[in-house]
Amino acid sequence: MEPLPATLRWIPALLAALLLAAPARGQDVTVRAQLSSGVVKLGGDVVLVLEVENASSARVGALPAVDGLRFGQLAGPSRRESRVIVNGRMREYLSLRWTVRILPERAGDFTLPPIEVETPTGTRATRPIRFTVVEDLRGQELLFIELRPSSEQVYEGQPLAVELVFGWDVNLNNQVGGLDLSLPWWGDLPGVLEVDGEDRGLRSRQFEVSVNRDSTGLVEEIGTRQVGGREFRLFRLAKTLLPTRAGKLSFGQSYLQFVQVVERGRRDMFGFGTRDRTETFYVGTPAFEVDVQPLPETGRPFDFSGAVGTYEVRAEVDRRDVDAGDSIKLTVEWSGAGNFEFFEVPDLARLPAFEDFRVYGYNEEKGADHRIATYDLAPTSGAVRTVPPVPLSVFDPALGEYTRVESPAIPIRVRDLAGADGLEPLDEEEGRERDIRDIVAATRSAGARRAPPAAAVGGILVAVPLGWWVLRALVRRRGDPDAPLERRRRAARRRLAADLRGARRADEQLRALHAFLAARTREPEQAWVGRDVEEFVAQRRGDGPERSGHAGDEAARALAAAVARLEAEAYGGGDQPLEAGEVRRAADAAVRCGL
């Protein structure tokens, strides 16, 4: 075969792409329903399968209510897709499947009404389906089942024991292929709590059996019994229920499903072969109801905390000879038949009988058939002779009224502590009340508490920085007060004092005085060597040489005399120092001159 020309090679690829890209979908949305079997034995179940084709999504409407049929949970949908090429065209099939288990509750002919299914193209309905439920006569012959409540009437809170006895003909013992109990009330009764301890009283052999196909229950074998001329091997399943509200408890029909192995399958050495051939039988119990009565309001004690049943109580203490304040463990145990897990144990701290005790608290242990409370007590004085009875208000269903069960009083001996009055009553320690503090009864004046006017305080706060700003400006007009010459001038007197302390000769004193005068006049020290002091002072003051009688003249003359004496001593060869005080007076004279 010759290859296609290059220009035509794209045609097959295009055709293939078109085929794959646009598959033809199934045209119409269809809804179908079918049962797994058309004839069902009473006690068995049948599975309803709902299937929607050619719809990407769908929703199943409410399942119909049919007298005598019990519907389980709707499971699904499961999704199946397939593509088929028909006559060169691809067809795509899509289906959604739901399943629901149907349990018949009586024999007879049944018709399942249409079930509506919502699809994207509209609401569709299934067709009615007929099927028949027949009694399993063989099962009734070979199997046994009996369900008994402890009472047909109970009170709220009163435990209700339910006992299921079932079994099979002893001749089937070697042909047991499987068991399942169909118990509609198992874990599904509204207004009921299941009490722990359902295995109470189990004796020898225990087995787990399948219940409702999705759970297991523990049963005990109770031996064999002759019923209707046949001998049955029997088992017992017990459960204790606690009704929490008044009304009716409905126990639907319970069934035993028994699978008999009619013929064992054969297996070769590789495990291949035939399966066991089995036959399934059913037997059921009739439905019944238990009436739950409310607890009467009449005569209900204030301290009733929910105890219902026939109670017995006993009490014991760990020590009977104690000192006041010593801890005593009081153990109270309630037992009998009752709701032991569902009441509050008495609070001894609230009981007047226990006023002479300090109650520290308690621990408790709950069980299906008993309740234990262990109180920690301490007698507060040696006057205590007994541990008082512990009362508990109980509703007794047998009597139909409220009763009171009390533990017996327990004699004890309490010794007072030497030099002590025993423990303080607890309420005095914790019962302090809070109140406002008392009035001021004394007459007190407010004193000079009047605050200065805000304007005055504000004025001060404003005036301080303002004054600083003015002062600073004034000072800076004469130059920077922090300049080196200014600092030297301010430190001149201190430096003179220090120099004079170290001066031993007249020339040293003269240099110290020159340094002082130079610092005061902001000049170098050499400027004062040989200077006519009186003339300089006069020039500084701005006086003419003819002026005399100025107030500083005397000081200028004293300064000039001191300088002259020091120069004479320093340059004349004597070099005898003057008295330090005389030099300081000369410095003072210089300051008075305005230097």
């Binding site: 406002i436 009035i439 009864a441 200065p452 706060l461 600083w468 920077d480 007060p481 922090d482």
Partner: protein, 255 residues
């Protein structure tokens, strides 16, 4: 003051017609009578007399008005009006901010009224309490003290100059600002007369002194707003944002 005299006064106050002359003109005497009446359980008389004390001696020359306000708070509390009691305790604390008894009673009264505590204990409340821990005189004194320190530091800087003087001046500015903060925080509050909402369900602020006037705002119980003016049966208050309105006088207390 004998019990007989107190009984005479009580009879004069209670028996019709009321004789205003029977009220003492001496604050100390009125206070003593009020204490006796309070001890005797006559809360109405005690209240009248302590109000008289505040009226006679607003400066506290004989009886501290803060004491009278505190005692009026106890009277209100004993009468089952914890919100009003809290208002009186706050009045006491405005004059004596560190009065432990007034604080204790204020918190107790607020708790009894189901209102949040005056000191919530968070940072803001703690700072607020710190700022208002001094009375007006102490705040002014502290501000002046800070100003004195500032004067010294600034004088040094002005006369001598130099880096050290400048550092000292800045430090003094900080200290002075710190000292002046309580005084600044108290500015305005010291002189404003507050209206305390004491009605258990709060008070409605109307635009005019009429219950039919527009309702501007609802004040919560225990709220405090500056009082601006008064008319018989009405108190004019200033809300946040400067809006002014009228509240019924029976819903507020103006100590």
């Amino acid at each position: 003051m004998s019990a007989l005299a107190a009984l005479t006064l009580v009879a004069a106050l209670a028996g019709p017609p009321q004789d205003p002359v029977a009220l003492p003109d001496d604050a100390a005497r009125a206070h003593a009578l009020a204490v006796e009446a309070y001890r005797a359980g006559d809360l109405d008389t005690a209240e009248t007399l302590w109000l008289r004390v505040r009226e006679l001696d607003p400066e506290g020359r004989a009886v501290d008005p803060a004491d009278a306000a505190y005692n009026l708070g106890n009277v209100a509390f004993r009468r089952g009006a914890p919100i009003e009691a809290a208002a009186w305790y706050r009045t006491t604390l405005a004059r004596r901010p560190r009065d432990a008894d007034a604080w204790a009673n204020l918190e107790f009264a607020l708790a009894e009224a189901g209102l949040p505590p005056a000191d919530r204990g968070d940072l803001r409340a703690t700072l607020d309490r710190l700022l208002h821990a001094l009375d007006a005189r102490e705040r002014a004194g502290l501000a002046v003290l800070g100003a004195g320190l500032l004067t010294l530091a600034l004088g040094w800087e002005a006369l001598r100059g130099g880096a050290a003087a400048q550092r000292a001046a800045w430090a003094a500015v900080a200290v002075a600002a710190l000292c002046a903060t309580p005084w600044l925080a108290g500015l305005g509050g010291d002189h404003a007369v507050l209206a305390h909402v004491v009605a258990a369900n709060g008070a409605t602020v109307h635009s005019e002194p009429s219950r039919g006037a527009a309702k501007l705002e609802r004040l919560e119980p225990g709220a405090r707003v500056p009082r601006v003016d008064e008319l018989p049966g009405w108190v004019r208050v200033e809300l946040d944002g400067g809006v002014r309105g009228w509240v019924p006088a029976d819903g507020v207390l103006v100590p």
